[in-house]
Amino acid sequence: MKQTIGLSALALMLTASPALAQSNTATGTVAIDGQVRSVCILGDPNPALVNLGQISASSGPRTGKIDTIAPRTVTLPASFCNFAGSVVRVTTTAMTSSDTTSPQPGFTRAVNYTATASGWAVGTAAATSSALRDGTSPTATGTGATQPLPKIADIAVTLSNFTTPGDLILVAGNYSGNVVVTLGPAAVAD
């Protein structure tokens, strides 16, 4: 008797291993850096020139001597420093006559005054010139308190207290002086 063997093909299946639960997200990073320099900028003085007109008295007991001159204020608008620890400095230079010859006894060619800067840190920065009657030693400097934070503000500079050395008679002529205002970092202590 014949026997028939039938074999069916068996398919071999290669089963893939199940996908593992893993994160295939990738990240790339661009690091960005920059800096901002420390800067102070003073606003342009308004007015830039203070014209007192006639500074000597024309009549009365003070004829020829320094008149009473009302204070004048100049504004430096929107002045700023973007860093902590700044100060205002003022340097006052006495008004002196354009005639540079040494004045006769009884006369002065110098007018002293005070410049006061306010609006920055606590208090003010002030300097009063103390020129001699011949105009020597005309300059004085004052420094204000340290401003602890960056700041933007209007700085006011007031000119006042106009006097003459010895209250002497003013030599005739055109007088000019100036105030230098500086805004910058407070000096580093040694």
Partner: protein, 179 residues
Amino acid sequence: MRKLMFLAIPAVLVASPAFAQSTSVTGTVNIDGSVAGRCTFTLPNATLSLGELSLASNGKLDTSRVNGKTATLTGWCNSTAATMAVTTTQLTTGTAAPTGFDNRVDYTATAVANSASASDSSLTAGAGAASTVGLFTGNIVVTLSAASSPSNGLMVASGPGGYTGNVVVTLTPTVTPVG
């Protein structure tokens, strides 16, 4: 009595015809597998140094120092459905900003790869919308734009660490189905 034992042996055999013949026989093996979707950065880090961020004339943000600046990463994705998204973090410095001042720079970062782009603004929290980037290998170019400061004020001078921020580009492959 003799017993006859028949052992069934599984075999890969072809059914033989009733009559023995010399014809060829064919067997088939089906093989299948899968490749998981992947994305990778081959150059995952870059640094973009913008330099001085403020205008010399007035101390405010100089947007030209930010806008248009680029950095390039490289990577690839093997899935046609891969997506790309950007997360932008603003530039900041640790110093506080009084009234009238700013201590941060916001901007938009746009990543372009395989002609697809995705962007995000540092003004909005979290990542920007993802875009389909597809199957690619090559550059991912990050470009900055729309720089701004919160009050358009004076920039605070940077502290010791300077102003820092970053742009993170995320490539996400699609999840490969199993079975």
